[in-house]
C-alpha cells in the first residue's frame, strides 16, 4: 500500500508535466531534430532526399547569395539599433513630458503604424518611393527643386528605403516600451538631481538611462531578433529580393530556397545558421549586461 502511494507520488510530477512535454516534443523538439537531419540532406520536396553530410553548410560558406543576404540583414539590424531605438527613445522622452498637451493623441498617432500589417506597409511604401510619381520624390523635388525626380530609391537605394519604411513601422512600437520604462523611473530621483543642479543631459545620462536599462536591453534584443527575421517588408516593397538582390534577407533566401526551389535541406541549413547567429547575439548581449552589472 505504502509502495503504491510512493510510486504515485513519484509519478505525479511526470503526469503534470506530460501535456507540456508531449506538446513540446511534438511541436518543438522533434521539428528541431528533424530540421537538423534535413540540413544534412539535399532534397527535392519532402520525399526525394539524399544525405550529403555537411555539404549544405560548406556550400553556404561560399554561396554569394547567402553572403549578400547576411550583409543586407546585418546592415538592416544595425540600423534598427542605431537609428530606430534612439528615435523611439527620443519620442518616448518627448511624449513623457507632463507639460506636453495632447500627448495621448500623439502616442496613438506614433503607435498607429504598428497596427498596419507589414505587407500593407510594404505596398504603401513601394508607391511612396516610386520614381517621378512617388510622394517622397515629388515632395522633395517641390521642397528642393534640384532634387532629382528620378531618384531611384527602389533600384539603387533599397536599404535606405527599407530602413525608412521600417522606421515608420517600428519607432512608435518601440516607443511604447520606452514610455512604460520611463513612467517607472522614480520621480523623486529626478527631482533630487534637479535640486542638486543636474541639467537635463545629466539627469538623462545618470538617472534615466540606468533606470531604463533592463527595458533597453530587452528592446535591443527584440529588435535584433526581429531584424534578423525580416522578410515580409522587403518582399512586399520590392516584389522579391530587389535589383541585384539588394533587398535579399536571410529569411527571404531561406524561403526562396525551401519553397521556390524545393530544397528544404539547404533551407534548413540556412535556418540553423540563422539560429546560431541569433543565439550568439543573445549570449553576447547577456554577457555585456552581466559585465556591466558586475562593474
Amino acid at each position: 500500500m505504502k509502495l503504491c502511494a510512493t510510486s504515485s507520488v513519484k509519478a505525479a510530477p511526470w503526469l503534470f508535466l506530460a501535456p507540456f512535454l508531449l506538446i513540446f516534443g511534438a511541436f518543438t523538439a522533434w521539428p528541431l531534430a528533424r530540421s537538423l537531419i534535413l540540413a544534412c540532406q539535399q532534397t527535392f520536396g519532402p520525399t526525394n532526399t539524399v544525405f550529403v553530410g555537411l555539404d549544405n553548410f560548406r556550400f553556404l560558406l561560399t554561396d554569394p547569395l547567402f553572403w549578400t543576404a547576411l550583409q543586407n540583414t546585418f546592415v538592416y539590424a544595425l540600423s534598427s539599433v542605431t537609428l530606430q531605438l534612439p528615435l523611439a527613445l527620443g519620442l518616448a522622452l518627448l511624449l513623457n513630458r507632463p507639460s506636453l498637451r495632447g500627448r495621448t493623441l500623439y502616442r496613438l498617432i506614433f503607435f498607429s503604424p504598428s497596427l498596419v500589417g507589414l505587407v500593407f506597409a510594404g505596398i504603401i511604401f513601394s508607391i511612396i518611393f516610386e520614381k517621378r510619381t512617388g510622394l517622397v520624390n515629388v515632395g522633395l523635388h517641390r521642397l528642393f527643386p534640384v532634387f532629382d525626380l528620378d531618384f531611384p530609391w527602389l533600384q539603387n537605394y533599397v536599404m535606405p528605403a527599407l530602413i525608412l519604411a521600417s522606421l515608420w513601422m517600428y519607432v512608435g512600437f518601440n516607443m511604447i516600451y520606452f514610455l512604460a520604462a520611463l513612467q517607472n523611473v522614480p520621480r523623486e530621483l529626478e527631482e533630487a538631481a534637479m535640486i542638486d543642479g543636474a541639467n537635463a543631459w545629466h539627469r538623462f545620462r545618470h538617472i534615466i538611462l540606468p533606470e531604463i536599462k533592463p527595458v533597453t536591453s530587452f528592446v535591443v534584443l527584440l529588435s535584433l531578433i526581429g531584424s534578423f527575421q525580416l522578410f515580409e517588408l522587403p518582399w512586399a516593397l520590392l516584389s522579391g529580393p530587389g535589383p541585384e538582390n539588394r533587398g535579399l534577407t536571410i529569411v527571404m533566401y531561406l524561403y526562396q530556397t525551401g519553397f521556390l526551389t524545393n530544397d528544404l535541406g539547404y533551407a534548413s541549413a540556412i535556418g540553423w545558421v540563422l539560429a546560431v547567429i541569433l543565439f550568439t547575439l543573445a549570449l553576447t548581449q547577456q554577457w555585456f549586461n552581466r559585465k556591466e552589472t558586475r562593474s
Binding site: Q42, P46, N48, P64, N262, D263
Partner: protein
C-alpha cells in the same frame, strides 16, 4: 473535470478526422490559374458535363498561380491529392521538369500527340517550351508573339513614318526628334522605349529576339555567350548614358500607367497577352496606339520575340488519362474557345488552322483599327524557341542583375563607350554564368538524363 472533457473531445475528434472518408469529388479535376481562362472554359465545361455521366464530368478549379504551383508540386513530390488535368505557365513547368523523365510528375504526351496527328496542327515553336529531352509534356495554349506598341497619336503628329524603321538603330534615329523637348532639369520629356534595368520581361524579350539565350539544347546555361554580351551592352546604352532612349513606366502600377497615358514612353514591347491588360487598365489609350513588328537587331533579323506561355498537362497520378486527354483536345482544339478567348484577352491560339478565322482579322479599335490578331499571327511562326529549365527563372534573375551591375559600373565610371560596356557586360555575365552553373552542379536532382 474540465481537462478530461477537453481530452475526450480531442481524442474523439482525432478519431473522427482519421476515420471519416475523404470527400471524393466527382469526375475529373481540372486546375487552372488565370481567371480569364477559367471564365472562358466555363461554358465548354458546362456543355461537356451535360452530356457525360457523373464520373466523366469535369470539376474545374481556379487557383491563384502560386497556390497552384505549390499544390501541384506537393502532389508531384509527396503524393498529396492533385488534378487530373492542369494548366501551368512556364516557371511552374520548369520546376516540374527537375529530374529525369521518371521524376517528372507530368505524363509524357509525345505518343498521344503523334498518334492524333497534332504535331502538324501546332505552331512548331510553341511546343519547345513544353518539350524536355525530346519528349513533350504539355499541349501549348498560346504562342505569345511580341510586337512593338507605340503612341501613334504622338508619332504621327511629329510626321514620323514608322514604315521606315527596320532595325533598332533606325528606331533610335527616326524617333529621336520625339526626345527633343526638355523639362526644367534638361531631361527629355519623353523617352522612346519602356525599358529599364529590372524590366525582366523586356530584357528577356529583347535577348531572345536578338538570338541570345539562357540555356542551350543540353540545358546548360549560356549566359556568357557573345550574343548575350552584345545584347546586354546595347541595352545598357539604351537605359543610361548619353545615348539613352529608354525610361521606366512599369506595368500593372498606377504610376506606370499614368506615365504611359502622359506619353512619357513612346513604345513598349507588347506580347499579345499584355494588350488585354492595357485595354482593361488604360482604356483611354484606345485609338492612340498602333502595333508594328519589333525593330530587328540587324537588317533582315527577327522582327518578333516571345514572352510567357501556358500549357495543359496530364499529371501522371491522374485517374483515367484517356478521358482527360479527350477533354484536353476538346478544349484546346476548339475554335469557339480560341475565338472567345482572343476576344477577351487578345491571346492568339497556337493552332494555325484557326488563324484564318474572321475574328483574328477583325480591326481592333484599341490599336487604332489595326487587325491586331493578324499582326501577331504574322509573326507567330517566327517566335524564338526557348529551352525550359528549373533554373530558367534563376538565370533570368542573374541576367537582370548583370544588366543592373553593368549600368551601375558605367554610371560609376561615367564610361558608356561600347568597348567599356562590352567588356563589363562580359565580366558580369561570366559571373552570372558561374553562379548559375554552380547552383546547377550542386543540384543532385536536376541533371538525371537517361
Amino acid at each position: 473535470m474540465g481537462i478530461w472533457i477537453i481530452g475526450l473531445i480531442a481524442i474523439i475528434s482525432t478519431v473522427l478526422v482519421f476515420f471519416l472518408p475523404r470527400p471524393q469529388t466527382q469526375g475529373k479535376s481540372f486546375w487552372t490559374f488565370a481567371k480569364p481562362l477559367y471564365e472562358n472554359y466555363q461554358p465548354v465545361v458546362t456543355r461537356w458535363n451535360e452530356t457525360r455521366p457523373p464520373e466523366e464530368r469535369i470539376n474545374m478549379v481556379h487557383l491563384q498561380l502560386q497556390a497552384l504551383e505549390r499544390r501541384l508540386m506537393s502532389s508531384f513530390l509527396s503524393g498529396t491529392p492533385g488534378p487530373d488535368l492542369v494548366e501551368v505557365e512556364r516557371a511552374t513547368a520548369g520546376q516540374a521538369f527537375r529530374g529525369g523523365p521518371q521524376d517528372i510528375g507530368l505524363s509524357d504526351l509525345t505518343e498521344r500527340i503523334r498518334k492524333e496527328g497534332l504535331l502538324e496542327r501546332i505552331n512548331p515553336p510553341s511546343l519547345a517550351l513544353w518539350t524536355r529531352q525530346g519528349r513533350i509534356y504539355g499541349l501549348p495554349h498560346d504562342v505569345h508573339p511580341v510586337l512593338l506598341a507605340y503612341r501613334a497619336d504622338i508619332v504621327e503628329a511629329a510626321g514620323i513614318d514608322v514604315s521606315e524603321i527596320e532595325t533598332w538603330e533606325d528606331f533610335s534615329r527616326i524617333m529621336a526628334p520625339l526626345m527633343a523637348d526638355r523639362d526644367d532639369q534638361g531631361r527629355p520629356k519623353r523617352y522612346l522605349l519602356n525599358l529599364w534595368e529590372t524590366n525582366t520581361l523586356a530584357i528577356e524579350v529583347l535577348l531572345l529576339q536578338a538570338g541570345g539565350s539562357l540555356f542551350n539544347s543540353d540545358e546548360q546555361p549560356t549566359l556568357d555567350s557573345d550574343r548575350n554580351v552584345h545584347v546586354v551592352a546595347t541595352l545598357v546604352s539604351w537605359i543610361a548614358g548619353p545615348a539613352r532612349i529608354a525610361a521606366d513606366a512599369p506595368e500593372y502600377t498606377a504610376s506606370g500607367n499614368s506615365l504611359k497615358l502622359q506619353g512619357f514612353v513612346i513604345a513598349s514591347v507588347m506580347p499579345d497577352w499584355l494588350g488585354g491588360f492595357w485595354k482593361g487598365d488604360m482604356p483611354s489609350l484606345s485609338g492612340k496606339l498602333k502595333l508594328m513588328p519589333l525593330p530587328a537587331w540587324e537588317k533582315g533579323g527577327l522582327r518578333t520575340s516571345v514572352a510567357g506561355g501556358t500549357m495543359l498537362g496530364l499529371p501522371k497520378a491522374g485517374r483515367n488519362p484517356d478521358l482527360a486527354w479527350e477533354f484536353a483536345i476538346h478544349l484546346y482544339f476548339n475554335p469557339d474557345v480560341a475565338v472567345a478567348f482572343y476576344g477577351k484577352t487578345g491571346i492568339i491560339p497556337p493552332i494555325p488552322e484557326f488563324w484564318s478565322l474572321p475574328a483574328f482579322n477583325a480591326p481592333d479599335p484599341y490599336f487604332s483599327g489595326q487587325p491586331a490578331g493578324q499582326l501577331f499571327i504574322q509573326q507567330a511562326p517566327y517566335v524564338p524557341a526557348r529551352i525550359n529549365s528549373p533554373y530558367y527563372n534563376f538565370s533570368l534573375a542573374c541576367l537582370t542583375n548583370a544588366v543592373g551591375a553593368v549600368k551601375q559600373r558605367a554610371l560609376d565610371e561615367n564610361n558608356f563607350s561600347s568597348d567599356f560596356l562590352s567588356k563589363t557586360a562580359a565580366q558580369e555575365l561570366a559571373k552570372a554564368q558561374a553562379h548559375v552553373r554552380r547552383q546547377m552542379e550542386r543540384d543532385l536532382f536536376v541533371d538525371k538524363k537517361e
